[in-house]
Symmetry: C2
Subunit: 419 residues, 2 copies
Amino acid sequence: MTADTAYQALTVETLPERLKDVAALIQHVGQDAATWQVQEVGDGNLNLVFIVSGPNGKAIVKQALPYVRLVGDSWPLPLYRAFFEYHALRRQAARDPGAVPVIYHFDEVQAMIIMEFLAPHVILRRKLIAGEQVAGLAAFLGRYCARTAFRGSELSMQSPDKKADVALFAGNVEIPAITEALVFTDPYFDADMNSHTEGLAPVIAKLRNDIGLKVKVQQMLQQFVSNTQTMVHGDLHSGSIMSTDDDSRVIDPEFVQYGPMGFDIGMLCANFLMAYFSQPAHRGANLSAYQEWILEVIADISDHFEQEFRHLWATERTGILYPAALFEDQGHDSTAACDAVLAGIWRDAWAVCGIEMHRRCLSLAHNADFEEIDDVALRARLEARNLSMGAELIHTADTIADAQAVCALAREFNGKDVL
Amino acid sequence: MTADTAYQALTVETLPERLKDVAALIQHVGQDAATWQVQEVGDGNLNLVFIVSGPNGKAIVKQALPYVRLVGDSWPLPLYRAFFEYHALRRQAARDPGAVPVIYHFDEVQAMIIMEFLAPHVILRRKLIAGEQVAGLAAFLGRYCARTAFRGSELSMQSPDKKADVALFAGNVEIPAITEALVFTDPYFDADMNSHTEGLAPVIAKLRNDIGLKVKVQQMLQQFVSNTQTMVHGDLHSGSIMSTDDDSRVIDPEFVQYGPMGFDIGMLCANFLMAYFSQPAHRGANLSAYQEWILEVIADISDHFEQEFRHLWATERTGILYPAALFEDQGHDSTAACDAVLAGIWRDAWAVCGIEMHRRCLSLAHNADFEEIDDVALRARLEARNLSMGAELIHTADTIADAQAVCALAREFNGKDVL
């Protein structure tokens, strides 16, 4: 396959012949493409994902499709998102070494990334639904969020590099547009692609009639589209994390953009909270222990995030923001400045968290934590707790003390039925 | 002069020969370049500005120099700023028709814009120092700030157009870098290029020892570099406005970038406040009447800004933010949303206002309002009032009620000597 070949979607059948000369595959899978086994495993909403196996090992071939897989070719989506995913992966690898799969090969025309096959990693969301714990998860995620937030901002980057990167990623238009609509707007009115569990109508009506809530959510949208604090993953939920019992990686950054520092960690915490609220449908005897483990992960993510962020503040503050010239060099402690930055991050994060909790039950692209609950009445009851807590977070984001307070709120809503 | 001619700075002597075939000059000045009179009038810090006169009339030829004129060739500055100025002027003309000079010709290689000669306009700062009133000034400036803020944001623009524009203007690196350093950072420590009036040391020491103030200023810097709400002029002071007794235009947008909606109006108000505080050195009997006129301009700019912004909110809200689908279409009034957006703009504006009041007395590029006061003791006394009010604005920006409250504060500091 040469660089000027026109784009063509791969299939299980055509992949070996088409990629037989790609050195990265030969190296990681095996010399003779005739010996490769190919399996298509894409369970996401947007792309083809193949596992290619051979005598030397395995590799992942991920190829963008020119439309939203979840919806079909009625919703076209540009192939260039693979370009942004590739550039995001490179930056994430540099900013938090080891956090993302190793890239073996990138083909821009084919919108294809060949990368490390992670084993025995599975999608974290599956583990959360199955009630499995992952050692070191909070430390990994807290550090990942802190490192990518800090090192992708003018706290660390030189200003010309940051501006060039903002310009580059501003080209990723249609993918962030999905977030703009599906996350921030559609949940709050009767949008075409919305769906929700039967029985939720009264809770939804309350949200959609809450003008103050809608104002706050739209303020967060304004911030999402016009705040380039750092490079965000843009879709950091438990389906974008792969884990073993004690190792985790972040995948799928095609929603990358420069955005608010609190965005990723807010969305991430929302997905743990939804895992928490869905547990009564998935667990038996160990329900409360597993739910408490999830809350512990949230609190620990927050602790590790703060700890790492403060460490980077002290050791890597090489950008134009809050320069040592104004603080340390004057004998002035800059802790108050770091406190203020962190407070701003958390204000944004908790509002985004509440919004993500809403959109996953109200617009397109629900999550398996709730979707796999067959008992519709139970699902509605659990989603209602989740939706109500989401509203509370959006309304109170500015005054929430810390992640422990969020966990306390989760316990409260977990015992409070609004339906 | 052809497009591939290498850049060469124009001189009064070479201009006619070099530009004799430029149709725009022939049309507006006269057919025969030998009859043109050329005068160099650049009194700014960065560029060459020529008035070219002839039988048909006059035109302005503005050419960027490859260094900061104020400092010399030890501070190189890229010529591409003329490209951004040109694109800014085009957008400003579209967003507020008639507000900026008409462009006749642009030559990217020569970093040269040929444009309308404004007459009998003079730089507004000169009129403020001379004690002259300008009819319609506040209405013009309030509307200009509202229209460019609103129409350059996702309140109005389509998202792909906005992202493409953000990417384009992210290429303007070195010029905004001047603002990042000179406005937001240098005033607050003993930076190399700083200078200040003798006698201000105690006031300056107080500012530079105020850690909370520095934190707040750096938060505003973080916002300035990573908030792309709208296309800002970037240098909207009274030296970037030309007026007659009843007509005004905005010029010199080479500091253009996408930035916070409150930036331009904040900097603008600061320059009126500095004109206000400097008046005791420039006026005699009519001092208090003229000072009150300046405050009236500030209050009226604010009123016209709000009025125009609310008008555009009601009539031109065509972007993805605060969509009618969520508000009006649901029978929900969106006034609370507009209130929240405006409140955010003013919070930012008053903090920027205070910062601008500081930098004009403390870092490079002081303003004539104060600089032309020969009596050093008087200048220090007036600058001290200005510096102190600036600090108050930065500290209280979040809670200032409105522009009237700012005017009241100005009167208070005008009567309070801190030296």
